[in-house]
């Protein structure tokens, strides 16, 4: 099994609070590795460090063997890290196509091109159509984001990440706020994607997590308290105590 992402001994403190406490994780090709934990467990801080928004105090992050710990957000994205956000970061006044196209053009080379017109770039158009098709958004490609449903926006976010042709996806609560139908659609989408691109999935929806994930890591108070296949996690007494609130 090829290892795509490896996190080793990652640590981050805010004052006395250990937001990330010696976290080590791996993500292998072809799998969905879910990261769960109660609110305030440090999931957002951990994702922030992986994506490059937060500088860790210690530890390393490697992507396909290359150390990316010191890289900027943009450089990590270029290196193959695609992600979505809990709160949408799409440009609301622009269409789905325009939002996705930014990622596609970044993938297709330098953005310091001042003359050729993106609207007439057939290569870009094909790339955008391809990923919008992947997330079943082709029919709404030219609708401004502000007019799209919540579920549709989530799928456009995923499309943006896919347009990077990433080596892995980092999805931050993609099901949040989706209705039952939306959650099912998203679950189906992720299931289709995982053979192509491994996914590190942070999610609260346990049904989705247990349906999708090959491995689950449980984060409590900044530290990983358990890691393993869904069946193991389901029965792990420490997880049940700390996370599922049973004793």
């Amino acid at each position: 099994m090829t290892e795509v992402l490896r996190i080793t001994g990652l640590a981050k403190s805010f004052g006395a609070l250990k937001a990330t406490d010696d976290v080590s994780l791996t993500l292998n090709a072809g799998e969905i590795h879910a990261l769960i934990g109660p609110n305030g467990a440090g999931k957002s801080t951990l994702i922030g460090q992986i994506a490059g928004w937060i500088v860790p105090d210690a530890g390393t992050i490697t992507l396909e063997g290359a150390d990316i710990t010191g890289l900027s957000v943009a450089a990590r994205a270029k290196a193959g890290l695609g992600r979505t956000f809990q709160v949408s970061t799409l440009a609301m006044d622009r269409t789905a196509r325009q939002n996705v196209r930014i990622a596609a053009q970044a993938r297709a080379g330098s953005s310091f091109r001042f003359w050729g017109q993106v609207a007439q770039d057939q290569g870009l158009r094909d790339a955008v159509d391809q990923v919008l098709g992947d997330v079943q958004m082709l029919d709404q490609a030219d609708t401004p984001i502000a007019e799209l449903s919540h579920g549709a926006r989530r799928r456009v976010e995923v499309a943006c990440a896919l347009a990077l042709e990433p080596k892995l996806l980092l999805l931050d609560e993609p099901m949040a706020g989706l209705g039952q139908d939306g959650t099912q659609e998203m679950t189906a989408l992720l299931a289709r994607l995982k053979s192509r691109i491994p996914i590190l999935l942070v999610e609260h929806d346990m049904d989705a997590v247990f349906a999708l994930a090959g491995r689950i890591s449980v984060l409590v108070n900044g530290a990983v308290i358990a890691s393993g296949p869904p069946d193991v996690i389901r029965t792990d007494p420490a997880v049940r105590t700390a996370y599922l609130g049973e004793d």
Binding site: A51, S72, V73, A74, A75, A77, K78, R83, F85, T89, L90, A91, M92, D93, R94, T95, Q98, N99, R101, I102, A103, Q105, A106, R107, S110, S111, F112, R113, F114, W115, G116, Q117, V118, A119, D121, D142, C160, A161, A163, L164
Partner: protein
């Protein structure tokens, strides 16, 4: 460029071509020069519009670049007429060369200012760009070699190969070609990959960074291009007026360029043109009517901000389209 805005842009372009020509044929030299003024001020605002309108960078210091362009033209002409040299280099009175130097110098200065300023955001950015412009302004006032506050006269308008730049309508032609070229360039840039990135840097910086494009570099580049266009306007302005002075760099001037962009419509390609026409005509004719023109100009501006948010273009062409 479709719909009503397209028609308005076409009308503005036609007006810029036809009206001055008609004035010229009617022998109204003053109004031809006034038209040159409109076009040059519009060009300065087209430059700022790239940073402010499209890139969301509220620069309160663009007068610095306007002044740099002006001083390059002024200093070149000054040395050329005296037959002296600038730091051992002989200077030129050829406009194309002056423009090139203006634009490059402004680009270098903008690179330095932008590299520091763009580390900040929001009000900090507004204020630090203002501070850099004030720095250059005070330098220009107190540096005696080029006239200090008195400024520097350009006795003989700089030349353009094959053209008689003294002829008002010819000079207008040069200005309007420069304006159209920069408008075309802006349209081209905003349709390009770089433009798409700049647009996203403005609307969702996070989205841009997540796509793998560093927003800082995009912004800095746009800031530099924007400064270069404004510097070109400054060089033309100096030749139009026949002098340069530190007032070209004052914070009022920065405010005026900003006002023109907003009056016309932020982030609309032809907005600065509409804004410049309105502003220069207001300034000229209110100034002729009453000493209290500042009061009325203020009221008109206030009304625009409060009640006509899209500026003139927003008022007559509706909401901007982005496709």
């Amino acid at each position: 460029m479709r719909g009503r805005e397209g028609w308005i842009n076409g009308a503005l372009a036609a007006a810029l071509l036809i009206v001055p020509l008609a004035l010229h044929l009617a022998g109204e030299v003053y109004y031809v020069n006034l038209a040159s003024r409109v076009v040059i001020v519009a060009l300065a605002a087209v430059g700022l519009n790239l940073a402010l309108g499209y890139g969301g960078m509220v620069s309160f210091g663009h007068a610095a670049f306007f002044g740099i362009g002006g001083y390059v033209a002024g200093i070149s002409a000054h040395h050329a007429i005296l037959g002296t040299s600038f730091l051992g280099l002989s200077t030129t009175t050829e406009m194309p060369l002056i423009w090139l130097i203006s634009v490059l110098l402004a680009g270098v200065v903008a690179l330095a200012i932008g590299a520091i300023s763009l580390r900040t955001k929001g009000v900090y950015f507004i204020m630090i760009t203002l501070a850099f412009a004030q720095m250059l302004y005070y330098f220009a006032i107190s540096f005696p070699a080029y006239g200090g506050e008195d400024g520097l006269p350009i006795y003989v308008r700089n030349t353009f190969p094959g053209l008689n730049t003294f002829d008002p309508i010819t000079f207008y032609g040069i200005c309007v070609v420069a304006l159209f070229a920069c408008l075309f360039l802006t349209a081209r840039i905003m349709g390009s990959r770089f433009g798409a990135a700049l647009d996203m840097a403005h609307l969702s910086e996070t989205r841009l960074a997540t796509a793998g494009i560093a927003p800082f570099n995009i912004r800095l580049t746009a800031f530099v291009i924007s400064a270069m266009m404004t510097a070109l306007a400054g060089a033309l302005f100096a030749d139009l007026n026949g002098f340069v002075s530190p007032s070209m760099m004052s914070w009022h001037r920065s405010g005026e360029i900003m006002v023109i962009v907003i009056l016309g419509g932020v982030g609309r390609l032809w907005g600065p043109v509409a804004g410049a026409i309105a502003f220069v005509l207001l300034e000229t004719f209110l100034g002729g009517l009453t000493e209290r023109w500042g009061l009325f100009l203020g009221l008109i501006l206030l009304g625009t901000v409060l009640f006509a948010r899209g500026g003139i273009m927003g008022l007559i062409a509706g909401k901007a389209r982005h496709d």
